[in-house]
Symmetry: C2
Subunit: 126 residues, 2 copies
């Protein structure tokens, strides 16, 4: 199954998370084969953090886990789409439902969504 | 506006196209700054084809253009989300509505969507 994925030159596949109940696209991240295998096995979205260079169990510290309802693969195998239940309603580290909270309008990016919970509340003050 | 995008080491940003009317995620592709500028200016999705190394005006040969309703940028600026009207109803070069037509089930990728129009019908027999 993992061998049908077209891993990129860094051994990663793009992963889009979409809220199953609303259809909203929440975020885009990356998975290596371990992360995809763990996502399929555990039923919770697990990514590869490129900045930290380690497995990223989404929501492990914030509690905002993503329970997977379906995993889909695209035609050329280099992107997976996760239909998820976003626990806590917050996917973005800025404290918003979705990472896509800026919209192009008249030559600017304007913010379209308020912060639901401050990052300090989510992650603590450590 | 383009300077708020975090272009990757190849000068590209990931671009997700979502059907505005249904919420369905159609495809994931890439844009360079020219492609994003043209998308914003023309109102039709324009990508960068990595395989052909050229601007890719989606639907130019098939007629299945993507009329843009909104362009959104994510928190770290390395992914854009296009809400589109998919003309002809077919985003995928295999002749399906969406490129995400395979779903993980019991350790296999199973096809979930029929071909609506054969690639020969879409692109001709050249």
């Amino acid at each position: 199954m993992l061998d049908q994925v077209s891993w990129n030159e860094n051994g990663l596949v793009a992963a889009i998370a979409q809220e199953a109940s609303t259809g909203r696209v929440l975020m885009m991240a990356w998975m290596n084969s371990d992360a995809l295998a763990e996502s399929l096995e555990s039923g919770y979205a697990t990514y590869w953090s490129r900045s930290r260079a380690q497995i990223w169990r989404k929501g492990e510290s914030s509690g905002n886990r993503q329970k997977i309802q379906a995993v889909e693969l695209d035609c050329d195998g280099d992107t997976v789409l996760l239909k998820v239940e976003q626990q806590g309603g917050i996917a973005c580290h800025t404290g918003r439902n979705s990472c896509f909270y800026r919209r192009a309008e008249d030559g600017n990016w304007i913010e379209t969504e308020p912060v639901l919970k401050s990052p300090e509340e989510i992650y603590g003050n450590e």
